[in-house]
Amino acid sequence: MNNNRKNHKLYIGLILAGLIVLLILAGLIRSPYPPQKMEASLKLAGISAAHPMGCDQFGRDILSRVMIGARTTFLIAFVTNAIGLFFGILIGALTGYFGGFFDEILMRFNDVMLSFPSILLALVLIALMGPGTYQVMIAMGIVFIPSYARIVRSEFIRFRNMDYVLAIRLMGGSHLRIMFLHILPNVKGTILTSLIIGFNNAVLCEAAMSFLGIGVQPPDASLGLMLSEAQGFLFRAPSYALLVGFVMICMILSFSLLSDSLKEVQG
C-alpha cells in the first residue's frame, strides 16, 4: 500500500519534470514564434490553434515566451544552486572537519544570514548590483550558501571521527584527500535531497524577485516576470496568468514530488 503510493509520487514527479524539460528543450530547438515578435492585432488574443496559450499585451505568443521563460527560470535556479553548493561545500567541509575558532565565527555569521529572510538579503545585494538576470543569479547564489554550508558541516562533523577516517589518517592520507575523496561521497545523498529543495526555493525566489520587478528585466522573459505582467490583465485575459502560473506550479510540484520519493527511498 505504502509502496504503491510512493511509486505514484515518483511517477507523477517524473512525468511533470519530463514535460517541463520537454518544454525547455523544444524552446531551445525552435519555439513556435520568435518570443520577442510583437503583433498589434493579436494583443491579449485568447487561446487558439495558432497560439495554444494565447498572446500577451504586446501580441507576443505566450507559449513561445513560456518556453524561454521556463528556461531562464531553470537556468537561474541551476546557477544559484551551483554557487550555493560550491561555496557551501567548501565552507561546510572546512568548518565541519576542522572545527575550532574559525568554525565558531563562521557559524555565527551563518546564523545571522539564516535568521534573515532570504529575499531581503537578495534585495540588499540587488540594490548593490542593480537588477538583471546575472545579478539575480549571483545574489541568490550568495543567499543560498549558508543553508548548504550548515547541512554539509553537520554531516562532516558526523563523519570526521569515524574509524575509516582515522584509518586513512594513519595511512598518511592528507586532510584534503579525506575531506573530498572519502567523506564527501558519503554526504552525497543528503546533498542531493537538499539540492532538490534548493531548486524549488530558487524557482520560488526568482519568481518573487522578478514579480517585484527587481529580478529578470523585460524584454527578457521568466515565469515570475510574466506572471507579474499578466496580473495587470487579469480581467481581460485571465488565461495568461493562469497558464503561466500552471507551468510554474508543475515545475515546483515535480521537484517536490521527486524529493519526497527520494527521501522515502533513502529513509
Partner: protein, 315 residues
C-alpha cells in the same frame, strides 16, 4: 536563566551584525547621495557642503555608530527622495506589516492544527487522502500566485472584494481587516499545507511508539491518548516549523503587498531601492530583521514550556 541570557546576547549580536551588514552594503553602493539629492547640475561647492552637512565626509565606522545611536533614539534619518523623516514615513506602515504577519500566522495555526489532527486521526478515510493530495498541490503554489488566484476568483468573478481596494485602518477598520484577511490567505495557505502535513506525519509516527500502547492498555480512550499523550509530543516539530516560518511570512508579506496593492513596507522598500533612497531602505530592512530576530527569540524561550526536556539538556 543562563539559557535565556545566552539567547538574549546572541539576539543582540545578531541584530548588530545585521545592521552593520546592511549599513556597509548601502555605503559601498556606487553613486553619491549628495548628487542624488541636488541633481547632476549642482556645483562642486554645493555638493561638498551637502556632504559635510549629511556627514558623508566622515569615516565609515563613525557614521555607522552615529547611525546606530540615532536609530535607537528613534531618529532614522531623512529620506533622500521625499525629504521627510524616515520615521514618519514608516510609522503607519509598521501596523500594516504586523497585521499582515499576525493574521497570516493565526490563519496557519487555525487551519493546520485542527486539520492536521483530524487527518491523522482518520488517516485511512478518503477525505484524509484527498487532503494529502490537496496539501501536496498547495505546497507547490507560490504565495503570489495564490494571491492572483484569489483576486481572480473572489474579486473579479464573485465580486466578494474589490481588488486593489485597500482602505486604511482609520477610515474603515472593518474593511481594512477584511482586505488584510484576504491577503493573508495567500501567505498562509502554502505554509498551512506544510504545517498540516508535518503535524499529521508527526502524530502518526508518535502513535507507533510504546508509550501510546501503554496508555491504551491503561484503559484510555482514543481521544484521551491523542490529546493528552500523543499531541504533546507531536506538536514539538510543528512549533519549530512555525517559528522558522515566521521569517518567511514576513518576507512573503513584501511580495503579497505588491499583489494586493497594499501600501506597506514591501512596496516602500522596493521603490526606495529602485530610487536609491537608502535611509528608507536601510531602516525597513533593519526593522524587519529586528522583528524576525525578536520573534525567533520568543519562540526559543517558549520552547521549554512545550518541551521540558529542552531545559534539562541546557542545564
Amino acid at each position: 536563566m543562563r539559557y535565556a541570557i545566552r539567547k538574549l546576547v546572541t539576539m543582540i549580536l545578531t541584530i548588530l551584525m545585521v545592521s552593520l551588514l546592511v549599513f556597509l552594503a548601502f555605503s559601498i553602493i556606487p553613486g553619491d547621495p549628495a548628487t542624488q539629492m541636488l541633481g547632476t547640475n549642482a556645483t562642486a561647492q554645493k555638493l561638498e557642503a551637502l556632504r559635510a552637512q549629511m556627514g558623508l565626509d566622515r569615516p565609515l565606522l563613525i557614521r555607522y555608530l552615529e547611525w546606530v545611536k540615532n536609530f535607537i533614539s528613534g531618529d532614522m534619518g531623512i529620506s533622500y527622495s521625499y525629504h521627510v523623516p524616515v520615521r514618519q514615513m514608516l510609522y503607519d506602515k509598521l501596523g500594516i506589516m504586523l497585521t499582515l504577519t499576525g493574521l497570516s500566522f493565526l490563519l496557519i495555526v487555525l487551519l493546520s492544527i485542527p486539520l492536521g489532527i483530524l487527518t491523522a486521526k482518520y488517516y485511512d478515510r478518503y477525505f484524509a487522502k484527498a487532503f494529502d493530495v490537496l496539501n501536496q498541490l498547495f505546497m507547490a503554489i507560490p504565495p503570489f500566485f495564490i494571491g492572483i488566484l484569489i483576486t481572480y476568483l473572489f474579486g473579479l468573478l464573485m465580486h466578494l472584494f474589490t481588488p486593489g481596494g485597500f482602505v486604511s485602518y482609520k477610515s474603515d477598520p472593518w474593511g481594512y481587516f477584511l482586505y488584510m484577511l484576504t491577503a493573508s490567505f495567500s501567505i498562509a495557505l502554502p505554509k498551512a499545507a506544510m504545517s498540516m502535513r508535518l503535524l499529521k506525519n508527526s502524530v502518526l509516527s508518535e502513535a507507533k511508539l510504546d508509550y501510546v500502547r501503554t496508555a491504551y492498555s491503561r484503559g484510555n480512550r482514543t481521544n484521551q491518548v491523542l490529546y493528552r499523550h500523543v499531541l504533546r509530543n507531536a506538536l514539538i516539530p510543528v512549533v519549530t516549523f512555525l517559528g522558522m516560518t515566521l521569517a518567511d511570512i514576513v518576507a512573503g508579506s513584501i511580495v503579497i503587498e505588491q499583489v494586493f496593492s497594499i501600501p506597506g513596507f514591501g512596496r516602500l522598500l522596493i521603490t526606495s531601492i529602485s530610487n536609491r533612497d537608502y535611509p528608507v531602505a536601510q531602516a525597513i530592512i533593519v526593522i524587519i530583521a529586528f522583528l524576525v530576530v525578536v520573534i525567533n527569540f520568543i519562540v526559543d524561550s517558549l520552547y521549554p514550556l512545550i518541551d521540558p526536556r529542552v531545559k534539562k539538556d541546557e542545564q
